[in-house]
Amino acid sequence: MDWQGQKLAEHLLQIFLIAFAITAFIVGYSLASFQLMLAVYAGGVVLTSLMIIPNWPWFNKHPLKWLEPGEAEKYPKPVKEKEGAAGGGTKKKGWAQDGFREYFR
């Protein structure tokens, strides 16, 4: 799913559940049947889950443009030169390790 699809999924989830809850209550109250209210609501939950959980194509209308692997190799990530680092060293240095002065050099 892409970002727009995720937003759509969240909106659909909230709107459909609340709409089904309101219809279920109105139906149950007017027909004086508690069981009917629960049945309508349960049906609504199942329908909503079928709508938003699987990865439907309408959730992927705005796909992300990932960088091609060939392009990525042309511009390698810069490696920072560190004085006093032993051997190959680690790529990342946490601020809590070896004193923070190294980090702020």
Partner: protein
Amino acid sequence: MHSFGYRANALLTLSVTILAIICGIASFSDTFNSPSPSASIQVLNVNRFQKLDDEVSLTLNITADLQSLFTWNTKQVFVFVAAEYETLKNSLNQVSLWDGIIPSQEHAKFWIRTTNKYRFTDQGSNLRGKEFNLTLHWHVMPKTGKMIADKIVLTGYVLPQEYR
């Protein structure tokens, strides 16, 4: 919302929260019901009146119309008849004589003639010539929400002066 698990979890929690809210509103809708129940009890006969710990056996004729207590959110109504009287030792004695469960509105208007289901005894020998009330209590048990209890007090019943 980036994975199946995430969406399934969001759906589950939101649906259960909304279900709780619906049940709360359903329970609240019970306050709009203004019930008007009625009942009357006749003591047809005093069958036995023993001296050993003062036991009475009565035949009761219980008539009641509790149909207005039922709403769409009512599971059942538990009803019981209690005899209430005063003694020197206790200001209030309550003895349950009969109870029953009313499962639906159709059964709520009833007439029953029965001996007391549970023993009407006293702790002592205070029942000769005793004036007592018969109270019809009911508990309205909802499908969701708060249970409501109420009663009707019927006065003017007297036990005989002598054992028989």
